[in-house]
Amino acid sequence: MLDQTHVERLEAEAVNSAKTRQPLYAARRKIFPKRASGSFRRFKWLVMAITLGIYYLTPWLRWDRGPFAPDQAVLLDLANRRFYFFFIEIWPQEFYYVAGLLVMAGVGLFLITSAVGRAWCGYTCPQTVWVDLFLVVERAIEGDRNARIKLDAGPWTARKLVLRVSKHAIWLVIGAATGGAWIFYFADAPTLVGELFTGTAAPVAYITVAVLTATTYTFGGLMREQVCTYMCPWPRIQAAMLDENSLTVTYNDWRGEPRSRHAKKVLAAGLPAGDCVDCNACVAVCPMGIDIRDGQQLECITCAQCIDACDGVMDKLGKERGLISYATLSDYNANMMLATAGGSCPVTPSLVRTVDGKFSDKVAHFHIGKIFRPRTYVYMAVWSLIGLGLLYSLLTRDRLEVNVLHDRNPQFVTLHDGSIRNGYTVKLLNMIPEPRTIVVTMQGLQGGEMSVVGDDIPAGRSFAIPVEPDRLKMLKVFVRQPADQIHGTAQTFTFRVEDRASFEADEYTATFNAPETAR
């Protein structure tokens, strides 16, 4: 029944196995992940292509905003304090949209984690994606796991030197390309790329590229799994995020145990043998260097490479896939109870299988409905509410605003005819990339008149003034009220600003101060 001759047995040991539990401070144990192949590996290639594609191509997308704004689709213009994202333009005071997106990202992460575990860690985290990329280079140059182990252990020959130098050189190039792509988000990409290579770009551009090259090379090439295990807080947080219905990469020892390297002999001797043939394929492919058969652990980023590796082995053995699988703790516990007859005996394969070798009907399998449970509904609701709130706010936000600052020193000035004057700093915000003529009108304050300092605008209750595209115009406005119309020491009135072409308007209620003795 069992033909183990086709299964290659690998010498691999988990870096964190209980047998070799290390002291707190110890040199890193080198990990040489073997290349896995299977559906999860294919999915990871796809995710990698998409995420890297988004990262590298986004700055080069164009978006026409007319002659008065940059045509880069995504641009963080720090010098002018504007953030462009396709059809959205954000001013610094609207940065709460970004805060809202971050809250959504946080809740989204909770949702994903409670449903499918650390999918972020395993597939989309930049650390994972770049380490994957660096491993592709490493494999292409030095070969797969065994070749790399041999090379590493071998003496320094000319070949080893050439391989190592070329590997690190390519890593550095990837690092530089990573840093290089980053800066294009902050300036016009086609212009900057020219400046970058002719040496005329700003020093901060080169410094940023240098820093990101160094961090990419160090994190992706040298530190790899250490970043996840020792530096990242997410493995710690996830413990609070997962529950018994979350999908995690699980070694199903209820069908794998007792594991045996010589199942045929064991079976022949009349002893029970599980599905696990102890080939260590799952350990060899693990980029974190752990043994998933030790159970769910902090180091596991759930990249599912072990699932691919094990499925390949199970296929060769003619057994059902899924000895290592995405499973929930509740299913796992149910199956474990079944396999151990309620905990009364060690794992017994005959308890989960019928006589003809099929799984018993009592074995629990994952059902998609488990994803939809109160907890995920709450996360989905919170996530959608924030999203809808942001969307509503974005669609109804003002693109014309007025801010007014009342002079405080002096609060008022008595003029020669006894009339009282107050000063205001009026800021007109034209938040669209087109020039506009803004009409400023005062409402209320009987007999009051406005005059604008430094402009040839006749005093009156209304004036029109041009405002440059996407700019703030600051006006010093004096408001004057005749003595006989003053009622009280603090009267309120309204500054109304309008764009009569687009019917946009904004208002500000201001106070007009007068001395008690105004005659």
């Binding site: 002096p410 000035v413 008595t414 020669h416 005819d417």
Partner: protein, 287 residues
Amino acid sequence: MSSEHIDEVSGISTTGHEWDGIRELNNPLPRWWVVTFYITIFWAIGYTIAYPAWPLLHSATKGVLGYSSRNEVKNELTAAEAAKGKYVAAVESKSVSEIAADDALREFAVAAGGAAFRVNCVQCHGSGAQGSKGFPNLNDDDWLWGGSAEQIQQTITHGIRFASDPDTRLSEMPAFGDIITPDQIKQVSAYVASLSGLVQDASLIEPGANVFAENCVACHGDTAKGNRELGAPDLTDAIWLYGPGETAIAAQVRAPKHGVMPAWIGRLGETKVKELAVYVHSLGGGE
């Protein structure tokens, strides 16, 4: 004590130190940590050679890079001066009304003049240039000596009643307490107060008008509108340097107070005075 001792529980050697039977385990730092530690030591030594550091008897080592924080400040100030140079040169070469008419230049002059104002002028005129009793409010539209940018510049340059400047603005209202009778003072004060609408005893106003016509029109004019050539204030408006009302007016008629403003040209120079003039002109009352 110095002999090798292995802790039984952990199997780790101890440092040989013992306190009340408690020994200290010898767990060395990780290598990278130790290396970093040594690097920082070498860095620190190099730093003290490169930069001013070691104290000597009367001074300290200068450092081979020749760095000094004073030079840093000096360079920054020089750079700031150079950045302002274009505007300062324009302020020097243009008249104050030209400066006031040029948006960018006016903005610069208002900022620079405002800074100078806050150092030199706020002591009398107040931080908001609002003045106080005896010190004119510079925000309003009532000017003793004229409110054009040039006239303001003239006033700041030479001061008012500033004895040591021959071109100073000079006016001196006589003390009428020695010239007219107390009754006449009462009458003329009532008349003057009535000019700006402050309701007064009608029986005093008519004789007051006669006293005014005999004694005051020479400077304040037939209609009491004042005369800027002489610095004589307009008595019909709502602004009173020494306070409104009959009593305050009577006191000023009897024995006038005469404020003094220094000539600023010697202390500030022409460019600063121009900037100040543009600043004061911009406060809202400029003509």
